[in-house]
């Protein structure tokens, strides 16, 4: 089934898209959060320390004086400040709020430490001063400082590569998890989709009723069973009907042989009177009608229920039609039904793919129709025309013909044998029905019309 891979592709696509979207959203949120928490230029401890360094001025009396506004800012933020002198490394000035635990003497290493870290848990920042260094102590837990912010050089240099690799591995990992999680589901979907597909093709389906979707599988199996049962019943019914018709037509043949045989002997018996022989003649004639009927009935039912497979081969339609015409001419002893061969003499071959026996039967039926419907005799005209990849076989006569209305009905109304409504008017013989069935089986068409010779005309168009 084509839609399953499509379904999988769509799901994987949605999954990947959503993962990427989540990563992007997270990055944006992270950046925004960081940006909101990073102190700006004015409030950053480094700049305050720098400003304090600049704002602390030595007075003439040897003391130091911090400007008003910086002093206020420090007090407001609970920041203390000290100035450590270059030479003595002693505190020479301090704000009033310096905690008592802050020492007054410093070694060089103390200063190096406090410049990057803490002094007595107070995050400290340094500013430059002409006589030494200003140290600002911020309230405890107000800042978090990296004491050793050093990484391997390659780590930073390879960062983009590393990030991409990590991202890729993440995506692969997510995919793997998804695929593993879905394999089970897909495993149970696959037989179900195949089952539904086979079901629509009319096949017998049995899906294993295990796994996640066992309930659906069970329903498919149940549906298949019902369909198979119905098909089987229908087939049985049709076979029974066709067999019944075949059986009846078979069983009638032997008794009818005897009726026909003795009646014809009586018809020719010199011991009987003329009227008696005439009666025997009627029996023979009616027996022939019954003979035609039973053989047509059997073939019509077989064709209708597809029990007569077409054995198609490349055949010369001209030769087939010619043979049928000659067979009739050879049978017509009293010459009441002369036949005219109206085929162009140049046309000797018209190859079509047909079941030879069935085509012969169709043409025989048409000629027989002309004979049966014209008791007083008529001339029958037969022609074959090759026209643009099709072969047109035409049988017509100069007999009594049919009315416009009858012709319309013959062309369009279904025969009672293949009609599912109750028709009482379409009681014509089976001969034409068989012709239509045979020609339709070859992908051709049958046209019934008035003949230019005054009678009935049937044209069969069969594609090559």
């Amino acid at each position: 089934m084509k839609s399953v891979p499509k379904l999988i592709r769509r799901f994987v696509g949605i999954l990947l898209l959503s993962s990427i979207l989540i990563v992007i959203i997270n990055v944006i949120a992270f950046v925004a959060l960081m940006a909101s928490k990073i102190p700006d230029e004015n409030t950053s401890p480094y700049s305050i320390a720098k400003e304090t360094g600049t704002a602390l001025k030595a007075t003439d009396s040897g003391n130091y004086m911090l400007s008003e506004d910086i002093s206020a800012r420090l007090a407001e933020n609970d920041i203390w400040a000290i100035l450590i002198e270059d030479d003595s490394r002693k505190v020479v000035w301090k704000t009033e709020n310096v905690p008592a635990t802050i020492p007054n003497d410093y070694t060089l290493s103390d200063i190096a430490n406090l410049s990057v870290g803490y002094l007595d848990s107070y995050p400290t920042y340094t500013g430059k001063h002409e006589n030494g260094i200003v140290v600002l102590g911020f309230p405890q837990k107000s800042f978090w400082k990296h004491i050793q912010p050093s990484w391997d050089y390659s780590l930073i240099a390879d960062l983009p590569k590393t990030v991409l690799t990590v991202l890729f591995i993440n995506v692969a990992l997510i995919l793997a998890i998804y695929v593993i999680a879905n394999i089970k589901l897909l495993k149970s979907i696959k037989p179900i989709t195949k089952g539904i597909q086979d079901l629509s093709a009319g096949a017998c389906v049995h899906v294993s009723e295990k796994g996640l979707l066992s309930e659906i599988s069970a329903n498919i199996n149940c549906t298949s069973d019902i369909l198979q049962k119905q098909q089987e019943q229908l087939r049985k019914k049709e076979t029974a009907r066709a067999n019944w018709i075949a059986g009846v037509s078979h069983d009638i043949r032997t008794p009818l042989s005897m009726v026909m045989g003795y009646a014809e002997q009586l018809e020719n018996s010199p011991n009987l009177s003329g009227t008696e022989r005439q009666k025997a003649f009627v029996i023979v004639k009616q027996s022939k009608r019954m003979k035609n009927l039973i053989s047509n009935l059997n073939l019509a039912s077989k064709l209708e229920y597809d029990m007569q497979p077409l054995v198609k081969k490349q055949e010369n339609a001209v030769a087939i039609v010619r043979q049928v015409v000659v067979d009739f001419m050879n049978m017509d002893i009293d010459d009441r039904f002369p036949m005219k061969w109206n085929t162009d003499e140049k046309l000797t071959v018209c190859n079509i793919s047909v079941d030879k026996n069935l085509l012969k039967r169709a043409i025989s039926n048409l000629i027989q129709n002309s004979i049966s419907h014209n008791e007083n005799g008529c001339t029958i005209y037969v022609s074959v025309v090759a026209d643009n990849n099709k072969c047109i076989i035409c049988v017509e006569d100069n007999g009594i013909g049919a009315s416009d209305e009858q012709i319309k009905k013959l062309n369009h109304a279904p025969h009672y044998m293949v009609c599912d409504t109750n028709t009482t008017e379409q009681r014509h013989g089976l001969g034409l029905l068989i012709v239509k069935q045979i020609v339709n089986g070859h992908g051709g068409t049958v046209t019934i019309d008035h003949s230019k010779y005054g009678g009935f005309k049937v044209a069969l168009m069969i594609p090559q």
Binding site: R253, G261, Q265, A319, V325
Partner: protein
């Protein structure tokens, strides 16, 4: 040429229905066949065939103790004579099976007596050429065994193709044989494109058998369809 000698042929009739046997017997008897044996089963037929070997067997396809095809195989083992099937089954496979095994013809029931007699005579004529090998035409005679025509006491030889064509026409004497069937008889399967050759051969045959070849009487043309050989005494 008279066909009377064919009426002396022994015929074996096999059908499991007595009334049908009686009818076929009476049809053949009325026509002039007087050497007819009947049997109602395969067993009986084999006994009959051994007692007096027939020269033609007419078999029903469905017999009480087996199929007519099986009977044919057994009969063929003991003698080579033509077999005609009577069948109530018109289905094609049965027909083909019958021919494939060596049946000479078949008639689907119900049939008219004249159809049966015609088929029987045709098979017998085909199988038994008779003591007199000469086929009598209006102005000449054909001797198929010597492949020659005798006209005005003159012996004119027939070519192989002419012989084939005349044989095919003679087998269906009095009936039209289509152009296609004649081409097939002379040139085998797939006989397309031989129509002109056929016309040339027919012309030469006419020169040999007719008094006036341009107004043929024995070998007549049925325009567009085929030819018919008219034989005297038929």
């Amino acid at each position: 040429m008279s066909n009377d000698y064919l009426l002396d042929k022994h015929i074996l009739l096999v059908d499991d229905e007595q009334e049908l046997l009686d009818m076929v017997h009476s049809i053949l008897d009325e026509y002039g066949f007087h050497h007819i044996n009947t049997a109602k089963s395969i067993e009986e037929a084999i006994v009959q065939a051994k007692k007096s070997p027939p020269e033609l067997a007419i078999l029903d396809v469905m017999l009480s103790d087996g199929s007519g095809f099986d009977l044919m195989e057994q009969l063929k083992m003991n003698g080579d004579y033509p077999i005609l099937f009577l069948t109530a089954r018109g289905e094609d496979d049965d027909k083909f099976r019958g021919f494939g095994l060596g049946a000479d013809d078949y008639i689907v029931k119900p049939f008219l007596p004249k159809e049966l007699v015609f088929r029987v005579m045709a098979i017998l004529r085909r199988s038994y050429k008779g003591d007199n090998p000469l086929v009598q035409l209006k102005y000449s005679q054909i001797d198929f065994s010597r492949a020659e025509v005798i006209k005005n006491n003159e012996h004119i030889p027939l070519t192989a193709k002419e012989h084939d064509l005349l044989s095919a026409l003679y087998r269906n004497a009095g009936r039209i044989v289509t152009i296609d069937a004649l081409c097939e008889a002379a040139w085998g399967n797939n006989p397309f494109g031989y129509e002109n050759s056929l016309m040339a051969h027919i012309r030469r045959i006419r020169e040999k058998i007719e008094k006036n070849p341009s107004q043929p009487i024995s070998l007549v043309t049925i325009k567009g369809l085929g030819y018919k050989l008219n034989v005297e005494g038929k």
